[in-house]
């Protein structure tokens, strides 16, 4: 009996020591899988944005979960999704089942993100998309809420909204040209790279511009996404008498086209989508010939919210380049932090209701998720922006008092001087 009593005391003592040690040494980090094609700019943006946010949050003590400050641990998941969809799915499965991540952020190629979504939903992990714009990804939430409720899209705004912004930018440029140069009917050259995603924009342009926007479409040109020479198209556009070139480029042709358009001094302004012109290196790559090119964008050094400029400056300081929209993982982490703290748990089902109620001012605007868990677009929410290269700097030129929206630091859209000169002399 005496022996049993001693053993009992010993065990009790050991238990007490363990109980005292555990809370100190066993603070489990919150694991977040950052999904992206890490060998490409897009994946780099995913990782840079997320690591910047994680460093800030951890520097401030971590995430307060049920009274305990827990650090964030990022898991870099190279999806290689441009080259192999199975590779992407293997990577996500590994993050979910082996690294046992609590949340997922990122993804880029829509076809791959669909399968990643399925893996995340099977594992009931919240997945905040920061890269793929196709509306179908969120339509899945409304079609089958119980299964896809863990999916949210933060950035970019979906491609339907991107299309709207695209035409608003065109309409704004047309109005400025009409007013400045006294042109009665604006002629538009539609130039889109030969890619499937650009087809709907071309089709809508041909219908919408003459019917609803009072413009004339003088022709449609479809250069290869990797064209190294666009002089034939540009000569034809010049002959057509176009005032505006409505661009839809996501590939390297955007660089070639903008450079040669500047070199040839084509008397028209380039407005639309040109992903190459969103990059910091665009000015050097075009030798300054890409001056006055306008494109849809997510970030510029402009006060979309009080957080935008500090974020932009810090990103440029750390990574020596301007953030692209996949760097929205930065905001994704802060949104998750807020929801987790409110829920007091990292359990997806507990976090979900708080994430659905998100009303958060991030670096790109005010984030509110709609019923399909898509980021809301419009005045007072996330609007996206229009940026124009003006003498070596990316300037935000839209929204410029559009629907009463104006971001501090936004400047007026500028017409290239050779365009103004040409059309004034033509009168």
């Amino acid at each position: 009996m005496q022996f049993l009593g001693r053993v009992g005391t010993l065990l009790l003592g050991l238990s007490l020591v363990l109980a005292m040690c555990l809370p100190v040494g066993a603070v489990e980090p919150i694991k977040i899988g950052v999904l992206g094609p890490m060998s490409f700019t897009q994946g780099e943006g995913h990782w840079n944005g997320a690591s910047m946010a994680a460093d800030e949050i951890n520097g401030a003590g971590g995430v307060k979960v049920a009274g305990v400050m827990r650090p964030i641990k990022l898991i870099k998941v190279d999806t290689n999704e441009f080259l192999s969809i199975p590779d992407a799915t293997n990577a996500v499965e590994m993050a979910v089942s082996r690294y046992n991540v609590d949340f997922l952020v990122g993804g880029f190629r829509t076809e791959a993100v669909q399968v990643m979504q399925d893996i995340a939903m099977d594992a009931k992990k919240i997945f905040i998309g920061c890269g793929a714009a196709h509306p179908e990804l969120c339509t899945r939430v409304t079609k089958d809420y119980d299964r896809y409720k863990y999916w949210f899209r933060l950035t970019p705004i979906n491609s339907s909204y991107l299309g709207k912004v695209d035409f608003i930018l065109l309409g704004t440029a047309a109005a400025i040209m009409k007013k400045t140069l006294g042109i009665k009917k604006i002629k538009v050259a539609v130039v889109a790279e030969k890619a499937a995603w650009a087809d709907p924009i071309v089709n809508i342009s041909q219908k919408l511009l003459p019917a609803k926007m009072g413009m004339e479409v003088v022709g449609v040109w479809r250069p290869s996404p990797v064209a190294k020479d666009c002089t034939a198209e540009l000569a034809a556009i010049q002959r057509s008498g176009a005032h505006i070139v409505f661009t839809t480029f996501s590939s390297s042709v955007g660089l070639t086209f903008a450079k040669q358009m500047g070199e040839l001094k084509v008397p028209a302004v380039a407005v639309g989508i040109n992903v190459e012109s969103q990059k910091s290196g665009f000015w050097e790559a075009t030798g300054g010939k890409g001056n006055y090119v306008e494109t849809i964008n997510t970030y510029a050094r402009v006060a979309i919210t009080p957080k935008t400029i500090p974020f932009y400056d810090k990103y440029v300081k750390l990574f020596k380049q301007a953030p692209n929209y996949t760097a929205g993982t930065y905001d994704a982490l802060y949104i998750l932090k807020e929801a987790v703290e409110k829920a007091g748990s990292v359990n997806s089902d507990k976090v979900l209701p708080f994430l659905e109620k998100t009303d958060y001012i991030d670096t790109a605007g005010r984030v509110v998720f709609d019923k399909s868990h898509d980021v809301t677009w419009g005045p007072g929410y996330v609007t996206a922006i229009g940026t124009q290269w003006q003498d070596g700097e990316i300037k935000c030129v839209w929204p410029y008092h559009w629907e009463k929206v104006f971001y501090e630091g936004t400047v007026p859209f500028k017409l290239p001087p050779w365009v103004v000169g040409y059309w004034k002399n033509k009168k």
């Binding site: 870099k76 190279d78 293997n90 089942s97 076809e111 087809d199």
Partner: protein
């Protein structure tokens, strides 16, 4: 009981006289047993996913070998069969609600028809001309896929297919079991009279024709058979991934299958299967290893390419034939293979070199 005893004794006899006498056959036996027993030891989702995809791609690589390795019809666009079958399977499943055990065989029939459609115009072509023509077909089909998004889903593809089976372990057994059965079937085809004719066509088509064989029919048959097996792989892939998209038609996939087959060893069927079972999991092992060094740049593809290049530099026939030649010798008299340590042939007792 008596009948069972007879079968047992016969099996043991075959094992003793046909399998255990050659290291390559022992390796195949060990591989099959290990593959079947694996889920007993682990049911890790990630691990099983990698092996399921490996089995699917192994069927795909072997089907390429059947057409390009054995028959010599160099196909640079093999993803066409895979992609078409994936789309047919997806459409049957999504539009008609057919379950996988109907949609996959019918998808494979789609692969057969594609084999016919591609085979007929390619019959007069040889060598690099044939290779380039076959390369064009999946590119053309990708254009069609984007042109009719209402049917094909465009760049999104067709998503939301029903699951292959109810569980990951069952998926594993289905795919690995089918891989073994179809791999064995392809190997038996190449070992049959038809296989010998296909082999002869590759060596000297004119000689085969002068022997009175209708080579056109056999070449078409090779296209159709290859299309069928690649189609089964495509259907399995679509149901497992729950997606049939343009990535299934990509040129990269067509080249990937050639790399697997050439690495493992062409004109063997088992070589391409082994090639996939080495290279595909290797990429995942590299991922796990490189994850331990996050400061390193993304060098996975570089290591993969370097390994394939070095292997082919020192083993131009492929890895498996090279290994086989090291551990086994062929009898100069009766052509039967023997373990390398034997001095005399196990069948005809002739002296081995």
């Amino acid at each position: 009981m008596g009948l069972l005893g007879v079968y047992f004794r016969r099996t043991v006899g075959i094992l003793r006289t046909e399998v255990l006498v050659l290291p390559s056959r022992v390796a195949v036996l060990v591989f099959i047993v290990a593959l079947m027993a694996l889920p007993i030891f682990t049911q890790d989702y990630y691990f099983l996913r990698v092996l399921i995809l490996t089995s699917i791609f192994a069927i795909f690589a072997a089907s390429w070998d059947l057409l390009s390795g054995f028959t010599g019809q160099m196909n640079f666009g093999h993803a066409l069969f895979f992609g078409v079958a994936a789309y047919v399977t997806a459409l049957l499943n999504l539009k008609l609600g057919l379950p996988p055990y109907f949609s996959i065989p019918l998808g494979a029939v789609g692969g057969v028809l594609t084999g016919l459609i591609v085979g007929i115009p390619c019959l007069r072509l040889k060598g690099s001309y044939l290779a380039l023509t076959t390369l064009a077909f999946p590119i053309i089909l990708t254009g069609i896929v984007f042109a009719i998004p209402s049917i094909t889903g465009g760049e999104l593809g067709l998503a939301g297919l029903s699951r292959l089976t109810g569980s990951r372990v069952m998926d594993y057994y289905l795919t690995s079991g089918l891989m073994l059965i179809l791999g064995f079937t392809m190997w038996k085809i190449t070992d049959s009279k038809t296989g010998i004719i296909l082999h002869a066509i590759r060596e000297d088509e004119l000689a085969v024709r002068t022997a009175g064989v209708n080579t056109t029919r056999y070449k078409l048959l090779a296209f159709c058979m290859s299309g069928f097996f690649a189609g089964v792989a495509g259907g399995l892939y679509a149901h497992f991934m729950r997606l049939a998209g343009p990535s299934g038609l990509e040129v990269g996939l067509s080249f990937q299958v050639i790399i697997w087959a050439v690495f493992g060893g062409m004109v063997t069927i088992y070589g391409p299967i082994a090639g996939v079972f080495i290279l595909y999991p290797l990429m995942e092992i590299l991922r796990i290893v490189l994850d331990q060094f996050p400061s390193l740049p993304e060098i996975r593809m570089f290591i993969f390419a370097a390994l394939v290049l070095l292997t082919l530099l020192f083993m131009p026939e492929g890895l498996i034939p090279w290994v086989r030649d090291k551990i086994e010798t062929e009898c100069p008299r009766c052509k039967v293979r023997n373990v390398f340590s034997r001095q005399r042939c196990r069948i005809c007792d002739a002296a081995l070199d």
